[in-house]
């Protein structure tokens, strides 16, 4: 039991600590072996993370093949069709992209037609949620929201070339806002977040944040 715990838990945790320390000290120490070791480790990281990008695909296959089965048994044919189309797209794209190459005319056509229009619109369409939030929710309810609205109002005006061309003072105000108000209040946040990030690193290397190991048993 205890040896299995060593292999399953303690060695990985020790590995995290050692590798983290190597990479950290590479920043401060000029020593060629250390430098080439970290560069190699980082190249390994690129490969490992690339492999992990396949997880999303595996999860989709798992989730949607189950959903097809369930929808078929419940007679929800459209739902089954949706999942089937999703999986078909997944496989066609991977086959064409890996088989014929990403630079091939076929993959370029698929990408330009589907990926580009869908991604671009999916992000852009948030405009409507945002617009409806500005119209229906943004109210001067308190001093805080009042300030938020005032600065927001000035910024929208300043972002519109139409206004900025006719009211040059907007340019001066927006510079004061961005290079002063925003820069320095966000600096306080940056310092806090930065320190928080370092402490998160300390906890991880000291094996106090072990969520990344997955399932808690053992």
């Amino acid at each position: 039991m205890s040896t299995s715990r060593t292999y399953k838990r303690q060695i990985p945790l020790a590995l995290t600590f050692i590798v983290g320390m190597i990479v950290t000290f590479d920043w401060f120490i000029s020593w060629d072996p250390l430098q080439s070791l970290t560069t190699t480790l980082m190249n390994y990281q690129i490969v490992m993370v690339a492999f992990m990008m396949g997880f999303a695909g595996v999860n989709l296959v798992y989730l949607h093949s189950r959903r097809i089965q369930r929808s078929m048994s419940e007679n929800k044919l459209y739902d089954a069709l949706l999942s089937a189309v999703l999986l078909a797209c997944l496989f066609i794209w991977i086959i064409v992209g890996v088989g014929l190459g990403m630079g091939s005319d076929q993959y370029t056509w698929l990408f330009n037609t589907f990926n580009q229009s869908l991604s671009a619109t999916a992000y852009a369409a948030t405009l409507f949620y945002l617009a409806s939030a500005t119209y229906r929710v943004l109210r001067i309810r308190s001093a805080e929201t009042g300030i938020l609205l005032l600065v927001g109002f000035i910024t929208i005006c300043a972002n519109i070339p139409l206004f900025k061309a006719y009211f040059p003072f907007l340019g001066t105000i927006i510079v004061w806002i961005s290079d002063g108000l925003v820069k320095y209040s966000y600096r306080a946040i940056t310092i806090g977040v930065g320190l928080g990030g370092i402490l998160m690193g300390v906890r991880t290397l000291l094996a106090m944040e072990t969520g990344y190991l997955g399932a808690t048993e053992e």
Binding site: W27, I177, Y184, V202
Partner: protein
């Protein structure tokens, strides 16, 4: 011909996804499912190119140490097995260690020391009252915002200190207003790109 079909499909998908903002209906659902499938597939295709470029090509060129990288990469898939789930912990432990080390070492300089170094204000600039006043204001904004995030220091709990940090909260609210408005600009810009596509490439109305 392929271009014309492509433009039509792209235009119809654009409209279908836009309609999602209005109401969830069968057509937009279909577009959404296609979206998830093709986006995931593309990232896998790109990841594959990366594995070739950074890993496999080097092995072919004689750098056999990169076999370890490929093996570690393959081992990540043991997470789908209940019995040998723990093997997955080795590559993820490395990824975690490298990632944490890389960001930690940079955070000290980037988000702590350099931030302090750039915050030494000249409160009285000779012959420039405007800059002096601004510097005093910015100095107060920075310190009050900073004091807002002190949670365990009792000395900062006095009434004056709390009022001072409230000033920081107001300043941050102003900054959020800026951010909010800028987001609207971002989204309008992106939607403008889609409208330009529909009008120029699809309908050939403007140009």
């Amino acid at each position: 011909m392929a271009d014309v079909i492509g433009t039509w499909i792209a235009a119809l998908l654009t409209i279908a996804i836009t309609s999602l903002a209005w109401k969830d209906q069968p057509v937009s659902k279909m577009a959404n499912h296609i979206y998830i499938g093709v986006v995931t597939a593309n990232s896998i295709v790109q990841a594959w190119q990366n594995i070739m470029n950074v890993g496999i090509n080097k092995i072919l060129a004689g750098e056999f140490l990169y076999i370890i990288a490929i093996l570690l990469g393959l081992l990540t898939y043991t997470r789908y097995s209940k019995a040998s789930f723990w093997v997955y912990r080795y590559p993820i432990a490395l990824v975690m260690g490298i990632g944490v080390g890389t960001s930690m070492r940079g955070l000290v300089g980037g988000s702590f020391l350099d931030q302090i170094r750039d915050s030494f204000f000249q409160l009285a600039v000779p012959g420039d009252a405007m800059t002096s006043v601004n510097n005093v204001i910015f100095f107060v904004i920075l310190l009050s915002s900073l004091s807002y995030f002190l949670f365990t220091i009792r000395a900062f709990r006095s009434e004056t200190a709390m009022k001072f940090s409230l000033l920081g909260r107001y300043a941050m609210m102003g900054a959020f207003g800026y951010s909010f408005a800028n987001t609207i600009a971002t989204r309008i810009n992106q939607y403008a790109g889609r409208i330009a596509f529909l009008l120029i490439d699809w309908l050939h109305i403007a140009g």
